[in-house]
């Protein structure tokens, strides 16, 4: 391609001048794009170093037990990530548990059952909803969902007054809780996962589907036996992407989780996630304090978790897909 480069000495001939300029330009352009790539590497490196250095005092003080300790006590400066890891994982898994079946149903409905003329507009609406800023979901959760749930738990408790254990459980339930946060996250990732599922199911080769229809299969059988197996890997990837979003979400969760840094086994009571704790407590953690270090250690924990999810997704979806 650039065979003409090896004649730089002939710079004086009129034809060679642009060639030499061109070689310099090529080197410059190459250097620029590589530099941009290196900037990205440095960026991540800096983030990891910042988190690792910052959290070192925490691990010195509490060791590896930091991850398993269910105590977060700013008064006595005893910090453990257990409560927040629990809150992060439970809210996210709850969100997946609710969103994935719903998204599958929606995607099946959109790709197979809806008249073709409606498919595109409704599909567009769903992919647009995936772009709504997360703070909107948080506000909806706080102003609409939480009061509704709080009234529901009370109503249910009244119905179960005769069964003390059930009654006790329901009467101590709160409008803002780990469960509420899971619901809000489910609603938030639902359009995201649905949009990806629609794309994946829609990508099933028509020939494949037609041939199974030709064998007398019903619509559901075609989806179950052809479309889903065909897109399985991509669907798992989509789910992992949704999980990644839920794990790190801050604003939607802070509004509705109740921000309690104490351990409770009931998902209907208040809790906190890693992201919500950082948002709540970072500003008050002064330089050089153990608290700042503990919050950075929480950040490192979140980073490790979301990295694990990404690695899992890549392992499951070998060829890269959206």
């Amino acid at each position: 391609m650039n065979g003409s480069i090896n004649t730089p000495a002939a710079g004086k001939t009129p034809a060679a001048a642009p060639v030499r300029k061109s070689a310099a330009a090529e080197a410059f352009f190459r250097a620029t794009v590589i530099l941009s790539g290196v900037i990205v590497l440095l960026l991540l490196g800096a983030i990891i170093i910042m988190l690792a250095l910052g959290s070192a005092p925490t691990f010195e003080a509490f060791g590896i037990g930091f991850f398993a300790s269910f105590v977060w006590n700013s008064v006595d400066e005893i910090y453990g990530a257990g409560i927040m890891i629990w809150g992060t994982l439970v809210t996210s898994l709850l969100a997946l548990l609710l969103a994935v079946p719903l998204a599958t149903g929606c995607a099946y409905f959109l790709t197979e059952l809806l008249p073709a003329t409606l498919r595109k507009p409704i599909g567009t609406v769903i992919s647009l909803l995936a772009a709504v800023p997360s703070i909107i979901y948080g506000m909806w959760g706080f102003f609409v969902l939480a009061p509704l749930l709080s009234a529901t738990w009370l109503w249910l408790a009244d119905r179960f007054e005769a069964q003390p254990p059930v009654y006790e459980f329901l009467i101590s339930a709160s409008g803002t809780s780990i469960f509420t946060a899971g619901l809000v996250l489910a609603v938030m990732i639902l359009p995201l996962i649905t949009a990806m599922f629609v794309e994946i199911l829609g990508a099933t080769p028509v020939v494949l589907k037609e041939s199974v229809y030709g064998l007398g299969a019903t619509r559901w059988e075609v989806v179950r036996e052809v479309a889903i197996p065909y897109g399985r890997r991509a669907m798992v990837g989509a789910i992992m992407l949704g999980l990644g979003r839920a794990l790190g979400e801050t604003m939607a969760v802070t509004f509705v989780i109740g921000n309690a840094t104490r351990w409770s086994p009931s998902i209907l009571s208040q809790g906190s996630t890693i992201a919500s704790t950082i948002a709540n407590e970072f500003a008050e953690a002064g330089f050089g304090t153990l608290k700042l270090s503990a919050l950075l250690a929480l950040g490192l924990t979140l980073f490790i978790i979301s990295f694990g999810v990404l690695a899992g997704a890549r392992a499951l979806v070998a060829p890269r897909k959206y």
Partner: protein
Amino acid sequence: MAISTSPIAARRKLKSRFVAGLCFAAAALALAVLFSILWTLVSRGLPALSLRLFTTETLPTGENGGLANAIVGSLIQVGIGMAIATPIGVLAGTYLAEYAQKSRLGAVTRFVSDILLSAPSILVGLFVYELMVATTKTYSAIAGAVALAVIAIPIIIRTTEDMLSLVPVPLREAAAALGAPKWKVTTLIAWRAAGAGMVTGLLLALARVAGETAPLLFTSLGNLNWSTSLAEPIASLPLTIYQFASSPYEDLVELAWAGALLITVGVLAINIVAQLVVGRKR
């Protein structure tokens, strides 16, 4: 097809119908919930919309404030953030697509970019706090813009690389056969062919960072007043919404909903434009 009248076939048909019914219910439920969100947003945001939002800055409760400084602050931070992210993202994406197919550095960069893409945005806020706020000893608009840029870069890299890799090889080979150096093939042929897709990627990144709140919490802090100085704390729409939404004053909560409606409409509009750009190209 004799099967279609047998009892087994009838059961299979029934099952298919049942699943269809379930899916219909799922879709109806999902749409109902999403409609509830949009309805809340519109019904609470629309009555509070007025020209005042755009002409008056945020004021204490009871003084008929608007959101003008928050809107301008958002525009400044998003604008600078994108100005930083666009060249880095486009060039790094170009590197991955055009120069790094088989290099180890390329593979590592691609992996790192994917990690950044999935990194929680609040961690980016922490990072920029340590990087800029703690060192310059002041919250600033520029710190907020850098945080937004760090979020936008991996999105731009991903879309740029994907769009460039869709450019047909024969197109490049034709240009290369004419003796064009690689950088010219890349900028004149590949960038142009992938232009619409790349612009869409930029727009999607723009829409994404415009709605981000978490990375601004510890970087640009927020500001009650007019400020366009990059070295000072600055207001932004998402941060102002967050502060006002949890405020006890009804006029401020109303403003929060108006702002929420505004930002949602803005983000959706950018998305629609992005889809149109791609659509026209196709």
